[in-house]
Subunit: 460 residues, 2 copies
């Protein structure tokens, strides 16, 4: 007879946190400001009003420790939140490790990932400001799905430009966005000057996130009732995601345990930061002492191989200059299946925290990530998103180290989403056709060095 | 400011029911026995041993009121159970109805549907009996996924024959089965005599459930260490699914409410029975008085237009004769997207309950089902499985009737699974290319009457 093991730590929805956490309040130094690319001067709220409502601009620049979550946002969050914290007994058994492995699962959300934690408040604040339409870009499609769902809750129109290669190759995501009521175009499109310019030169262009951003921003800038929404990177996005870590802290309190290691995947940084920042607050206050570790793809290693410098947030150079870990704004990563991690830069706030020595980073190759994903699926019954497999690869490594040393570490990992719409990637892994994008370290170093020669200079 | 509304009723996993409910104990008369097609005599346990382990055969014929769930099965159930009960506040608002709508959501399971409630015990009892491999058929793929996951938990090999048309057209399901460690073949295949016979005559055969069953059964019958598993229809399958209704009863007790109407979709009958039977026990005992209503596709209306007669469970006529509501074992329903509801018959046990007048049935057309599914997705954030949209179509109708009459009914609906792997069906609905399979009633009556001329005769 098997013994009774608890698999889940559940919070009642009435126990859900009602405030987001703003780590800027607790850092020893503030991050460097965003700079205007024309003047080299710090960007002010007025520079951001063409694209964002004042509530979100205020949150981007906020310094108070907590921001109340509006009741209307809490009401939507409660459709799926609090998200469950799982103890991975079956994965532990498969790894024969003495480590205790916990995962905080965000795949229960309407979009299947953590992205709805920020799309819902973004749609709410825009609706409150009288905005009737939001535009955005999406690559693999997680963010576009999350924004389409959120817009449906507040009666806001949602228009998405999806990178053409993904639009054609991942039709399920497109249909999910339409099911939630969003409209979607392949990018480049004939609908914008930016898109038409690209198509004139490259009629068969597969598109890129940089082009899709240009199209979404162009449309948003044309109408005072249309704004633009971004799914990661910015301070307010990371703050919205802290509900993940706030819930996890309450869940660990319920079982009287605390993690020795917190792991999350890092692309733009919002999933990892959302889990890790509340734990970092507790660490800075001396109450706990976990190691916080981001896991990134070896083919797009902005934290482990990038430089900390002012760079553009997009490929085309339309955004403010942001000091961040970057591989160079025109670095094109290999087309790995974890589309959400294929970003040349890293959240300026998370980059700053990394520079302060408060978090660690590691990089993993694609095939070891999918090996961890398959092991996880067979053990725990959840097929993880390709992005999340990077965090799982690090957990597997750490758990095996614990098996060697006998250390009974408690490991907490952020499982950012499910991989139901990414199953072709698992197919490629299982049939052996998946490339490892296994650059030699020297090769990627050379490619990054080359891209870094084109970092922008700061005027003034 | 919005008021604080509870969206979910959650049971802790330690509150999960530990017994399945066997409705045979409480029915006024037992259902007619299965008959041997050669002799016309009732089938005994020994007739079933080539395919099933004795524990499951005993459950198939059990008459006690409850069967304890083995601890090993409870431990796997706890990966996702108890499943949440939701109050659909946003759907109610969209429908402007005074009805209270609740849904019991089974899409949180590893396979994304209720099918794991029976695949896990089936794999467990087979492993306990020394069986090393299970074979099965799958159409759309929900059942094959559920069995592959369950087999991975108990170290049993899983071999699935998937209808060729689905295998080619729905590759995501195939990959999910492989991700869980199952092996899968398109059916008809060259691996069995049954498959080779079909291919010799029709090299391009798209396959059918009937053929796939033949292939899976043929392989299972060849080896004493290989058994066969079925995902619906049989008594023990329906009993395993009663954990859905047992949980729902406990969840309603927590909020001091009780449903006036319980709705579920009916294909083979296991999802609806799993929710409804525990409520029927309470109704038969005079403690509550809900209406219990199955919702089936208008294009495959076994309850609303079939006859109650002895028929084969499969197309090829290899199974025992079962008295059930049937459209005739060679009736081929239109290829609607709700693959799980395209079955010519209905669970003999549920058919018997229907004959006793204890449940109602309605039929819905495909486009009204998807309209309900899209409304549900935009309101509640879950894209329902095509099967589940049939139950939702009935809920929408009932809620609108309540809006007209002012009745404040409590409606409970079983949401059998999510539709992440069925998004192409939503695409067809949204772009207007979905056919309604909207036979005139007279047309389907004629088609059924024709198929019923070929009902088997009972020997002896």
């Amino acid at each position: 007879m098997s013994t009774v093991k608890r698999h889940k730590v559940i919070l009642d929805e009435m126990e859900m946190p009602t405030r987001w956490y703003n780590i800027l309040h607790d850092l020893p130094t503030p991050p460097p400001p965003y700079l205007h690319p024309g003047t080299g001067q710090p960007v002010g709220p007025e520079d951001l009003t063409p694209l964002f409502p004042m509530d979100l601009i205020a949150q981007e620049m906020a310094t108070q420790q907590y921001v109340d979550i509006p009741p209307e946002v809490l009401d939507v969050y409660r459709l799926w939140r609090p998200s469950p914290l799982f103890r991975a007994h079956r994965l532990e058994a498969a790894l024969k490790t003495p480590a205790r492995i916990y995962y905080k699962y965000e795949g229960v959300s309407p979009a299947g990932s953590h992205k709805t934690n920020t799309s819902v408040p973004q749609a709410f604040y825009n609706a409150k400001a009288g905005i009737t339409k939001l535009t955005t870009e999406t690559g693999a499609g997680q963010w576009g799905t999350a924004l389409a769902f959120a817009c449906a809750q507040f009666g806001v129109e949602c228009e998405v430009w999806q990178v053409r290669a993904s639009y054609d190759g991942k039709p399920y995501r497109r249909i999910m966005i339409e099911t939630f009521g969003g409209s979607i175009h392949p990018s480049p499109s004939e609908l914008t000057a930016a898109g038409r310019a690209i198509l004139a030169e490259h009629p068969d262009s597969p598109g890129s996130l940089g082009i899709a951003i240009s199209e979404a921003v162009e449309v948003a800038a044309q109408s005072p009732e249309t704004n633009y929404a971004l799914g990661s990177v910015l301070n307010h996005v990371l703050m919205h995601q802290t509900i993940i870590g706030e819930e996890a802290l309450r869940q660990f309190a319920k079982i009287d345990d605390t993690p020795d290691l917190v792991v999350g995947c890092t692309g733009g940084g919002s999933n990892f930061a959302g889990l890790a920042f509340p734990f970092l607050r507790e660490k800075l206050a001396g109450r706990i002492n976990p190691v916080l570790r981001g896991a990134e793809p070896a083919s797009c290693p902005s934290l482990t191989q990038g430089v900390y410098a002012y760079d553009f947030g997009d490929t085309a150079g339309m955004t403010p200059l942001m000091k961040m870990h970057t591989l160079g704004h025109d670095f094109i990563p290999d087309p790995i299946h974890a589309g959400g991690l294929r970003y040349h830069g890293m959240s300026p706030l998370l980059s700053h925290v990394y520079e302060l020595g408060l978090i660690e980073a590691v990089a993993h190759r694609q095939r070891e990530c999918f090996a961890a994903g398959v092991l996880f699926a067979r053990s725990e019954g959840i097929v993880p998103a390709p992005e999340a497999t990077h965090a799982l690869a690090e957990v597997v490594d750490e758990a095996r180290r614990c098996a060697e040393t006998g250390q009974e570490k408690a490991i907490l990992v952020s499982l950012s989403g499910h991989g139901h719409l990414d199953l072709p990637a698992y197919g490629a892994y299982l049939d052996g056709s998946m490339s490892d994008h296994a650059y030699e370290e020297s090769e990627i170093r050379d490619a990054v060095a080359e891209a870094l020669t084109r970092l922008p200079s700061i005027p003034g």
